[in-house]
Amino acid sequence: MINSIFQKKEYSQIFWSKFILLLLLSLVIIFINSHHDNFIRTKPWLLTLTVPFQWLADSPKQIKFFVEKHFTARTNLLNENRQLKDDYLLLQYRLQQITQLSTENEKLKTLLHASKELPGVVKIGSVTGISPDPQIKEITINRGLKDGVFIGQPVLDASGIIGQIINTSYFSARVLLLTDSNSRIPVEVSRTGYQTIAAGNYIDNLLILLNIPDTTDIKVGDLLVSSGLGGRFPANYPVAKVTMIDRLPAHGFLNIQAEPLAKTAYSRLLLLLFPAMNKKASSDHETGS
């Protein structure tokens, strides 16, 4: 019966009209999405459909964690506990210093009549998936609209900025990493205050500084912090460390590579930063900073 499908004329007509319809539909989707970035992104239910699959794909890792959690030697746990306690003490000590510094800073700011910076609020999330295409550097996290996550929100880990939220569903969100070729972040060299833009690339997990004149004071090992320009990323968070400076005499510009401080592939836990103005998100937060 089916072997004669394409001999029958009416079948063939339905087949080809179906094909042309789907072809046009996919071309329209590709076209619209390349011109209006928010076409798919503003529809959270689309991404919500994929959440069960993310859970399934993440389950082997979760099982591994579960096994590790329940079958760890007691001595290991005791050692880890002691280590964590030591770290906690050290961090508490640093916090004391920081509290002192921040009060001092606030006093100085009132002297200068500068505007007060409101402290933001953070929430902890964890990585549930990594994009299978190596050139698309995106990760999925287990926090979504129900936690107040919004598009454009900065995401950090313990050592620096990782990226920003580009797509949200009710239970998950997608993070565009700084190292993606479509990602740009305004940074400044913390030693000199020189401001520039760090861009991701598609070859490796490094950042590239764009259009730096030959005469700029920049060295290997310089720390790059976010400058806060543009208002998307918060100011003064560590981003990357300069690893290579290539001086091309003919160009007049420097070729600079920087290594991001956040180790995305390995860090399971992430911090989602909520700006202080966001009342809705801050009302049900877990940790204040």
Partner: protein
């Protein structure tokens, strides 16, 4: 004889394909990941063409786009074009011996990967890299395994008894 297999079992079999295509693997192997969803779609288009057609292929492609973060329409178009080949050549693909069938499957995989690459490049999602041709090799290597396993799946769950080719 073709197997008579219920639609929901076919849909159920796409779940492992989709999960396999996003499951985390070491970064070095990432370029070599076989195109699981394409292989599963091809199998069902050969075995059950009245149940899995262009629309199924296209919608699975669109779902994969949303799931993996590729440009929307990228995998949908790629799956549509490669399934067009299978649908048009179904008469031959279904009758020929397995090695020749593999050749047709390889053509479909090449069409998929070229379309994926082309759409990715024009939407500036990805850049050209020869590593993108690795999945063609790994997919065609893994195809006999996929075929064998899904064939057994058909044998077990088919409502009519059928003889595998």
């Amino acid at each position: 004889m073709r197997p008579e297999i219920s639609s929901w079992l076919i849909w159920l079999s796409f779940i492992p394909a989709i999960v396999l295509s996003i499951i985390p693997i070491p970064a070095l192997l990432e370029y070599a990941r076989p195109l699981w969803s394409l292989l599963f779609v091809i199998f069902w288009m050969i075995m059950a063409p009245e149940k899995v057609g262009l629309f199924t292929a296209w919608s699975i492609g669109l779902f994969m786009d949303i799931l993996t973060g590729s440009a929307p329409g990228q995998q949908a178009l790629a799956l549509l074009l490669s399934s067009l080949l299978i649908a048009c050549m179904h008469n031959r693909i279904y009758r020929v011996k397995f090695p020749e069938q593999c050749l047709f499957v390889m053509y479909a995989i090449i069409i998929f990967q070229l379309t994926y690459l082309w759409v990715g490049i024009i939407t500036e999602k990805i850049h050209f890299n020869f590593f993108y041709f690795i999945p063609i090799g790994t997919s065609i290597i893994i195809w006999p395994v996929v075929f064998f396993i899904l064939d057994k799946f058909c044998c077990i769950y088919s409502t009519k008894s059928f003889t595998s080719q």
